[in-house]
Symmetry: D2
Subunit: 350 residues, 4 copies
Amino acid sequence: MAETYRIGVLGASGYTGADLVRLAIAHPAMEITVLTANSHAGHPMAEVFPHFAFVDLPDLATVEDADWSSVDVAVCGLPHGTAQAITKAVLDSHPQIKFVDMSADFRFRDPAVYAATYGKPHQAPELQGEAVYGLTEHYRDAIRDARLVACPGCYPTAALLALLPITAAGLINATDIVIDAKSGVSGAGRAAKQATLFSEVGEGLSPYAVGTHRHAPEIEQEISKVASRPVTINFTPHLIPMSRGELCTAYLKLAGGATVDDVRATLAAAYRDERFVHVAPEGVLPKTQNVRGSNYCQIGVFADRVPGRVIVIAVIDNLVKGSAGQAVQNFNLMVGLDEATGLMQQPLFP
Amino acid sequence: MAETYRIGVLGASGYTGADLVRLAIAHPAMEITVLTANSHAGHPMAEVFPHFAFVDLPDLATVEDADWSSVDVAVCGLPHGTAQAITKAVLDSHPQIKFVDMSADFRFRDPAVYAATYGKPHQAPELQGEAVYGLTEHYRDAIRDARLVACPGCYPTAALLALLPITAAGLINATDIVIDAKSGVSGAGRAAKQATLFSEVGEGLSPYAVGTHRHAPEIEQEISKVASRPVTINFTPHLIPMSRGELCTAYLKLAGGATVDDVRATLAAAYRDERFVHVAPEGVLPKTQNVRGSNYCQIGVFADRVPGRVIVIAVIDNLVKGSAGQAVQNFNLMVGLDEATGLMQQPLFP
Amino acid sequence: MAETYRIGVLGASGYTGADLVRLAIAHPAMEITVLTANSHAGHPMAEVFPHFAFVDLPDLATVEDADWSSVDVAVCGLPHGTAQAITKAVLDSHPQIKFVDMSADFRFRDPAVYAATYGKPHQAPELQGEAVYGLTEHYRDAIRDARLVACPGCYPTAALLALLPITAAGLINATDIVIDAKSGVSGAGRAAKQATLFSEVGEGLSPYAVGTHRHAPEIEQEISKVASRPVTINFTPHLIPMSRGELCTAYLKLAGGATVDDVRATLAAAYRDERFVHVAPEGVLPKTQNVRGSNYCQIGVFADRVPGRVIVIAVIDNLVKGSAGQAVQNFNLMVGLDEATGLMQQPLFP
Amino acid sequence: MAETYRIGVLGASGYTGADLVRLAIAHPAMEITVLTANSHAGHPMAEVFPHFAFVDLPDLATVEDADWSSVDVAVCGLPHGTAQAITKAVLDSHPQIKFVDMSADFRFRDPAVYAATYGKPHQAPELQGEAVYGLTEHYRDAIRDARLVACPGCYPTAALLALLPITAAGLINATDIVIDAKSGVSGAGRAAKQATLFSEVGEGLSPYAVGTHRHAPEIEQEISKVASRPVTINFTPHLIPMSRGELCTAYLKLAGGATVDDVRATLAAAYRDERFVHVAPEGVLPKTQNVRGSNYCQIGVFADRVPGRVIVIAVIDNLVKGSAGQAVQNFNLMVGLDEATGLMQQPLFP
């Protein structure tokens, strides 16, 4: 590998930032030069994440104090709402930087949808216009040419990988999509909250944000695009007593005489050459255990008891393919590397 | 409490049997006289379940060696398929015994559905004809008069409590029901299986029996009855890394102009006087943590993003309201006690 | 049960307070009249702990606004350091109230030890002089007569039940005690802390407060008393990825020719008539699963490979026998009830 | 990397075998040519471990049918007791093969100790004489020249890394060692056992094999060697509700005037140049979370409250540094590669 890219990670004190660091350490063409975390500026990364005690990393810095001239590519793990202004500031002052955003800030093509979903106007609409939606397998060419890539949310990644090819092929009724989603607790972030204490979520299960989760409009944006009409979907997330992993069970109506086998065959064909998206053979059940710690997505297709319906199930690791892994995959494309560079870690099981 | 009933527990080495024992110890009118577990006959219960080391219990016996003349009411926690012949043998020789079956053997009114679902003909069809379906809140009068009660499966308990009143009221389209179900691992029983080892299911999540779970026909039997026509439903279970607890998320289409508020109001009215079934106020999310170790069922009703749809969520403890607790509730009715006797334990949280 | 005692729970928004409420609901002679939680005053208990949605409870109040004239017995689940002043205020204004404190504030007979351990002078030393250490099995007579009982810490409860009889009998060397302790996460309380988030402690294990835990001086106080000389002990706690449960493994040197069997026999004799403390037969391993949700303590005695040494292992539920259950046990004694009233719930397994 | 070594994994259907496969896939100089699992012969690896569905691997074969001529190095993950005869058969027929054994079969230099510990005579004592104990950091030179390396048990790995340097330096009293050990459930293997079902070990904690665990004599063998006299140690393992990870807390007496700082400094010096063994700075607590999925060992040294004592804590991932990772580390030495080749994966947190 001839070239090395200098990486700055914004928001390195969160789980997605940390997983990006984990992947960057293993990446043959990434060198971490900047780590920001405003509340821990001046401290070693190993104080914040002690599992990094065994590697050399730059100390944490504020966004303002970081030396952005030492950065070729920035990856942003800041909380939603805070990324857009900082992205703009960094890109304005250092326009040569390529930017991979893992937050939600640049995912909506329509700033009005952003404002409606996140409750405030977008602070960098001109960058929004430039941003490419980073669902790698479906936006590969645009990502290659992008300066700013907005990685999808974890749920949208799993749901859209499962639904886009069959919606585009007209095999399912796009206006009758039910997505029951389940996620590990790391998706809720590392901020101290009573609701995600071990004793609160251990040995238990709960739905949350029923009918109101912000990933629903994001899924709708992409489904609507391939369906060529605006669609509203059901999306209902549940919190599972595990740290990593995400599973979407999609309940769908077959359209135009399509069969369950058509659905499986279409997905298999769509992802035949993909290294990270795999369609399971008939009868094989996707499990989050199959993809833990890896960049894989596994999709299974099942006949429903109800005639004319099909069930499609997708699993990912929410922090990898659902965030940091997909960010690295997009980085690879943006700088011209093989897309799988540094990402072929096998799942950690058990 | 004037009278005490002598209880025999068949299959006391399984989780539902053990939870029945736990509840019976706390019950003011139950005295355990017989515990069977053929593979552990002759051994103390505390050898098989060491958490019973602190109470006096009869030693385990074989079904054949147990003294059934010392039993007023038998509660059966045997595995599916084995209960029917043993029930018949016990009732033939001791017809005075009342019988509460927690297995699946007497749940299907139509022996042909049993045969189709469980893959072999029913071995006691005459008892099947006599058996009352033990969903207490919906079959209370029949249970009072029954000699043999077939307690519902854990999933059907949660699903039917949520769906029966609104299906009967015509508020939802009975032919378009999707039930995404999630259960703790204890539902898979105590037999040694690789698939339910800690290292296999911990930190992970998987669907199972997609499109083929045996609780689907049971739910269909009851939904069809109140809908007055045969219906097929979607029912898709998932295995959650927790021991106890069950949550059903039902995705439904509103019918005949009904609203989400109608659904909530109808459920609230149906269960207004119930001590174990509670409809949550608008905005309150059911969680399995809210019912752990208790006989409660909590139901929540939510607007879907998709117009014309509603989401109904029900939680129970699969071993209590989903099995042993409901069995005690039915026992109370069968012997003329207050239905809640011995069952008012509050949930154990955290 | 002729009489009912009106109970006020201070600090009802914490885990020990909530478990006291759970036990009080089941207690035939307790009626909850006051629940305090200053930060949630005016709100229903079910908002703070949704598992109480199914019972009637008073709304939460501030300590100041609570009607203490409606209280016969107060049970205090306030954080360490805040209990003493509030206890004093309540007792000064309502001297008829009996007080059971679950905090650490009145556990040290010597205010200097309190000050050294908790880093500030005691604010109610005169009450400290009156307080009885509430390790029920070892202070039963004094508890019966007490107005103020200081329940032991969870770790001291398990450790002292295991060690006091054999130290008193001179069977072990009191100056060579090593206690390796393990606790579930609920012991860290319900305040939002990053360190006890699910994703931080799940699938992992760590020691904490090595050499510095505040329960060590408490154990030393009691061991020193029965050893009739000041002793320092090793006490090293570890955080286990479970919510409830506590296990102390004590590594001990046999003294004066004592044998492992002597140790077991002495413990068995000491607790022969106890309903909550049980010494396991030789070869039976204590597990926290055996006591989950119950007021039991189980103790096992094992030969070490190293000659002249013995291993004693004790398990409790940290929130029950380690806190709220022992508080109820002490309440029963203080008001003249049978000590086990309302406490015979069997363990919840699985 | 010029050369590739063809790897055969014996016992690929167990957890250590699977983790070896995971590491081998990532290893730039390993090519897996043989996978054996007699009970699954003829089946794809992905049927047995579905997380390997995304890579190409040889089908499983019986030991007898495997083509050992295609193997340069065999790594054995067979259960204890079965490895020795098979190792002998393979080496007799293919003496060119280098052999890394992860079982317990060749760990005891003295076959009499093996026989006493495992209850039957050793079946390949001549190979035992040749085997090198594979604690890499302490037997590096011998491993380089070995044909047969016996990787230490998981507990001995953690315990010995912590204890050997300070015992050799005379800083602790070798006859007064107490090791309280805690392990995740994967250490119990993948065979279906009731005792390791999720519902049995979840939300709970138990000791096991108290005073009798087979890793104690292994630890004693090595401690005795550096202490230059036979020592007996305390070793008490506990089962923790997590899949991976292991923590040993060693309670030690300082000898010859040594201080806690001496202990830390000696360990730090011993491992200064090691890439996988790290001594934490004063005050930093080792956690299994810090090493999950990695080949690291982290060691912390703490002052005890009891004067003259010290606490040393070591954590590893039981399947990596405690088994498959150390096997790869030894493989690297045996074939002349850099010792860390393919092993620098960072811990997976959360």
